[in-house]
Amino acid sequence: MNKIFKLMLILPFFLFVLASCSSDSETNNNAKIELDFWTLFGGGDLSFMEEIVEEFNNSQDEIVVNMPAIRNSDYYTKLVTSVAANRGPDVAIAHTSKIPELNSRGLTEPIDDFAEEVGLDFNEFTKNLVEGTNLNGKHYGVPIDTHPFIMYVNNDLAAQAGVLDENGNIIMEETPEGYIDFLLKIKKALPDKIPLAISNAGADPFRMWWAFYFQMGGSPIYSGDLSSPDVTIDREIAIKAANYVRSLFHEHEIVPLNLADFYQDFQTGRAVTMTTGVWATGIWETTEGLDFTALPLPNLFEQKATWGDSHTLIMPIKENTTREKQLAVVKFMDFVTDRGVDWAEAGHIPAKKSVVESQEFQDLPYRSDYAKVAEYVALPNKTAYGDMSKRVFEQNLDLAWTNRESTEKVIDTLIKDLENLVKK
């Protein structure tokens, strides 16, 4: 009895010691370069990325990329703290909107120097996307895609509503009134269907507002210094864009309020059109019996624009890394961007021009219909506060979508909150 008792006390300590030793013994296998790669992907995105990593590992025998599973919900918190504690990955996924913030904390390495040696040429990427990773003349990330806010149409329902021409294209005048007329026509023809499915809270109506704000020629939200920018949002245009989005919910009653799951509404054939990010393409494709078209968000105002962000590969700083290892990282980056077609399966638009032009990509259904959007997508502003301001935007704009405050008041509070955000 007594012996078992003592053993039970000692055992955990042994296990602990064993566990802490074992992690060291794995690193030196055949002098291959091992890279840790962190991503925030889940679901379909994750499996496509896993395939690409596996392909890379099989394509050569000098570099091995390990991809541990990281929970998406607190990915950036984990990334920032780990990199700051020098326990970060060698290469990681980061949104373009996040790069200035990581950079202003001194957590990212510029890639230009290595890119030249590896032969990764930034000119081969869609200009708009590369521009997003360029801070003070240096590139801090390699874009692999962009995921803009677009529009989906249920072909069967649209045909029933009589808004398709003989070629199956939607009949719509690309003007602010034309879009509303188009939706009202659907509403009239199919009164028990949802003409446009979108939530009236959170990220998606904010993205729509963003798109129309920039279509109306709105000035950048922030300007000037990365870490202490000025808020330069155009108040009048911001109000105008908010009025337009709100009219879809209230004045014209096109979108039913407070839809609990508007993805499901589209997926189950209750909605005729819907707007969200391109990542939905992969979901609709695997939905049996859903005949749909993916289209750019209509450009209703003076300029072409839509909301979008972009996944990029970044090289976090690491104290004891070697140049050899850093070159390996950029080789991996180069490989991933060349595999853009595999990545596009998830719905994203590849960032490399040659991939977008390739026959292989053009043959993919749906994607090529909206690939041109990459050239004019309005990425979040380059500022250390780009990502943090999302919640500020959503919390304020939600009050407009639920019609609790006037749009003037909402935008005024929004501007004040943004100013408070960057002041700290």
Binding site: N258, A260, N396, D398
Partner: protein, 293 residues
């Protein structure tokens, strides 16, 4: 004899040691670290310059801080009476000598064992408009209404408080139930001999006997309601707008979304101070021999 006692203490100490270590590392140490943070400009990754009380002073002019503190207080005001009265009623029901006693006891306590994510998603599912259970149920009775339970600020509070009641009232019920069973039978027997009615017995025996436990429940309830966070985050995410955002969510947003740990820590300390004052008041008010806990 003495030696074996000493040995017993040693064994007990060894068993307590792992928990004690974890407790020091994850509870005691962070308490003091947090206090230190609240006096510094402290981002998620690095300690900045000493700011003295300036973050505490900044709090007083931060509308969002006051709004979220009010939201938390509102939740406490709305939920506490129900949490105590309903728990008492359920405990009385479960204490009745009926065949359904076991059913009552387990049925009311059952929701408490569910995790916050489960009850939150159940709530969203039940409360959602157009095809949610509750709205369909209302319409079944011919009421032609489509209330937006989670998107109207008033209804959102009703929903959150209702869900929280359903979820956690069972725990208080168990506390009341044990207290009910601790009331000596001879009191009732004596009352019965004196010809007291059931209501008189309840008023003069049961209720007074339950006062000590009620105080404990009130204290625990106020403390835990002030910490409300997870179910609101999951059900309304503080919305619509920020109208149901509790203080802890604002602290979380500041600390982990805006990486301003210093400011978040100073808000946490303000909350800590409020809870401390409330607890002292309650414990003091328990005076005249009514010991608590």
């Amino acid at each position: 004899m003495k030696k074996s006692l000493w040995k017993k203490d040693l064994y007990a100490g060894l068993f307590l040691l792992p928990f004690f270590l974890a407790y020091v590392i994850f509870t005691i140490f962070p308490i003091f670290k947090g206090l230190q943070m609240s006096f510094f400009n402290w981002s998620l990754i690095e300690k900045g310059e000493f700011t003295g009380f300036s973050q505490y002073i900044a709090l007083f002019t931060d509308i969002d801080f006051w709004q979220s503190l009010w939201n938390t207080t509102l939740f406490v005001i709305l939920s506490t009476p129900g949490m105590i009265i309903l728990a008492l009623l359920l405990a009385l029901l479960a204490n009745l000598n009926s065949k359904l006693k076991t059913l009552f006891r387990s049925a009311y306590f059952l929701p408490s064992i569910l995790s916050v994510s489960v009850i939150s998603f159940l709530a969203i599912f039940i409360l959602q408009p157009y095809n949610g259970f509750l709205n369909n149920f209302i319409q079944l009775f011919g009421i032609d209404a489509e209330p937006f339970w989670l998107s109207n600020p008033v209804l959102a509070w009703v929903s959150i408080v209702g869900v929280t009641l359903w979820w956690t009232v069972g725990f208080n019920m168990i506390l009341f139930l044990t207290a009910l069973q601790d009331i000596p039978d001879h009191l009732y027997e004596a009352a019965e001999i004196d010809g007291a009615t059931r209501w008189q017995m309840f008023k003069s025996i049961t209720l007074p006997q339950l006062i000590p436990i009620s105080r404990v429940i009130l204290l625990l309830q106020v403390l835990s309601s002030f910490k409300v966070f997870a179910q609101i985050l999951l059900i309304t995410d503080g919305g619509p707008g920020t109208s149901t955002r509790p203080l802890i969510q604002y602290i979380y947003e500041m600390g982990f979304e805006r990486y301003d740990l210093g400011y978040a820590a100073s808000m946490s300390y303000v909350l800590f101070f409020i809870l401390l004052v409330l607890s002292i008041i309650q414990i003091r008010a328990g005076g005249q021999g009514g010991r608590m806990i």
